[in-house]
C-alpha cells in the first residue's frame, strides 16, 4: 500500500516536470527575463500563476478536483512600466498553459466599450467581449469606465456587462484592467463587485536608474544600435537629469530619448558626409555622447527652454 502511494507520488512529480517541459513555458520565462528588465514582483507573480495552472493540470491528470481558477487581473503602475507588454506576454503564457484557447489580446479603452446614447453601450461592449473570447481582454485606463460625477454616464452599464461575463464565462475570457495605481484604487473602491472578481492585483514598480540604463541598452540593441563608452556615460547622466523633470514615463521616455538620439546621429553622419569617406558599419551603429548631450534635458528640459526663450 505504502509502496504504491510512493510510486504514484513519483509519477505525479515526473508528470509535473513533463508538463512543464511540454508547455514550452520555460522558453517564455526565459524571454521574459531577457527582455523585461527589473519588474521582480511582477515576474514572481507570473511564475506563481504559471505554477498554479501546471499543478492544476497535474491534479486533473490524477483525478483530483481542479476548479478553473479566476485569473482576471489588475495591472497598476506609472506610465511606461510595461503593463501592456506584460499583458501580451501573459496571453502567451496562459495559452501555453492551456488556460485560454488562443493567445490573442484585444486592447481596448473606454471609447471601445461605452456608447454615446441610450442602448448603444450594451451591443458595443458585447461585441468587444465576443472578439476577446478565448483570449485576453486588456482594458487600458479602466478607471475611465466609471465617472462618479455624472450619474447618467453609460460607463456603469458597460461595467455591469463586463462583470456578468467575467463571472459566468471565466473559462472563455481573461480580463486585465490596467491603469495608474491611485486611480485604480478609487475605481475598485467604488466598484466593489469588480474588486472582488479580480483575483490578482499586480503592482508595477518604477524602474531604478540602473534598470533604465539597462533598458536603454536593450532597446538600442534590438534596433541594431549601440552606445560607445562616452555615449553610455552620457545616457547615464541623461537618465539622472530626466528623472528630476516632470512627465517622466519610465521606459517610454527612454525609448523616445533614443529615437531623438537616432535623429541626431543621422544628422551628424549626414553633415559629415562630404568631409569623410562613407561611414562604415560601426559608425552607422554607434550613438556617441554628442548625440545624447545635445538633448534639451541637459538644459533643464522643456520648461528650461521656455524660460530661456522668454528672457
Amino acid at each position: 500500500m505504502n509502496a504504491e502511494a510512493n510510486t504514484s507520488c513519483a509519477e505525479a512529480m515526473s508528470d509535473l516536470a513533463l508538463l512543464y517541459r511540454e508547455s514550452g513555458i520555460a522558453e517564455v520565462f526565459e524571454k521574459l527575463d531577457r527582455e523585461l528588465i527589473g519588474l521582480a514582483p511582477v515576474k514572481s507573480r507570473i511564475r506563481e500563476i504559471a505554477a498554479l495552472l501546471l499543478v492544476d493540470k497535474a491534479r486533473r491528470a490524477v483525478g483530483l478536483a481542479a476548479s478553473a481558477p479566476s485569473l482576471h487581473m489588475s495591472f497598476t503602475g506609472n506610465p511606461g512600466t510595461g503593463k501592456t507588454t506584460v499583458a501580451m506576454r501573459m496571453a502567451d503564457i496562459l495559452h501555453r498553459l492551456g488556460y485560454t484557447r488562443s493567445n490573442h489580446v484585444i486592447a481596448v479603452t473606454r471609447d471601445d466599450l461605452v456608447g454615446q446614447y441610450i442602448g448603444h453601450t450594451a451591443p458595443k461592449t458585447k461585441e468587444v467581449l465576443k472578439k476577446a473570447m478565448g483570449g485576453v481582454l486588456f482594458i487600458d485606463e479602466a478607471y475611465y469606465l466609471y465617472r462618479p460625477e455624472n450619474e447618467r454616464d453609460y460607463g456603469q452599464e458597460s461595467i455591469e456587462i463586463l462583470l456578468q461575463v467575467m463571472e459566468n464565462q471565466r473559462d472563455d475570457l481573461v480580463v486585465i484592467l490596467a491603469g495608474y495605481k491611485n486611480r485604480m484604487e478609487t475605481f475598485f473602491r467604488s466598484n466593489p463587485g469588480m474588486a472582488s472578481r479580480v483575483a490578482h492585483h499586480i503592482d508595477f514598480p518604477d524602474y531604478s536608474e540602473a534598470e533604465l540604463l539597462e533598458i536603454a541598452r536593450l532597446i538600442a540593441a534590438q534596433t541594431d544600435y549601440r552606445f560607445d563608452e562616452a555615449g553610455l556615460a552620457a545616457m547615464r547622466d541623461y537618465i539622472a537629469h530626466r528623472l528630476a523633470q516632470p512627465h517622466f514615463a519610465n521606459a517610454r521616455s527612454i525609448r523616445n530619448a533614443l529615437d531623438r538620439a537616432r535623429l541626431r546621429q543621422a544628422q551628424r553622419l549626414f553633415m559629415n558626409a562630404d568631409k569623410q569617406s562613407a561611414p562604415d558599419k560601426e559608425a552607422l551603429m554607434t550613438i556617441t555622447a554628442g548625440d545624447i548631450r545635445a538633448s534639451r534635458v541637459f538644459r533643464g528640459g522643456l520648461d528650461g527652454e521656455r524660460k530661456q526663450e522668454s528672457s
Binding site: R101, S102, L129, K130, K131, M133, G134, G135, D172, L173
Partner: protein
Amino acid sequence: MMTNTNQRLTQGQFSFLPDLTDAQITKQLQYALRQGWAVGIEYTDDPHPRNTYWEMFGNPMFDLRDPAGILLEINNCRKTFASHYVRVTAFDATRGVESPKMSYLVNRPANEPGFGLVRQEVDGRNIRYTIHSYATDKGEGERY
C-alpha cells in the same frame, strides 16, 4: 420532399441528423472561424423552402477568434425565440465568392406540423402543384 417521416424540417447542413449539441456546434463554428468566415444568426417562423430571407439576430459577427462568443448569441437567440427556427450561416467574403458557405439549424420548434401538397386546377384539367406549410395558416408569432 421537404419533410422526412418525422415531420422534421430538413434545410441546410446536418438536417437529417439528430439536433447538434452545443459541443458539436462549437466545432462547426471553430471550422468556420478558421476559414475566416463571418458567422451570423438568423431566425424565422415561416419554414417554406423558398423563404430564403430570414430575420437576422443582431449583426453578423466579424473579427471573432473564438466560438464562445457566437455560442453566447445562439443561446440568447434560442431564449428569445424558443419556438422559432434558428439557423447559423457562415459568410465567405472572399472576392468572387461573397456568399454563405455554411448554413445549419440550431433550434427548431417542439412541434413541427410539416407541409401539405396543394393542387390547383388550371387551364382545363391541368394540375399545378405546390407545397404549403401548415404552420403559416396562423398569424406571425402564433405559429408554433
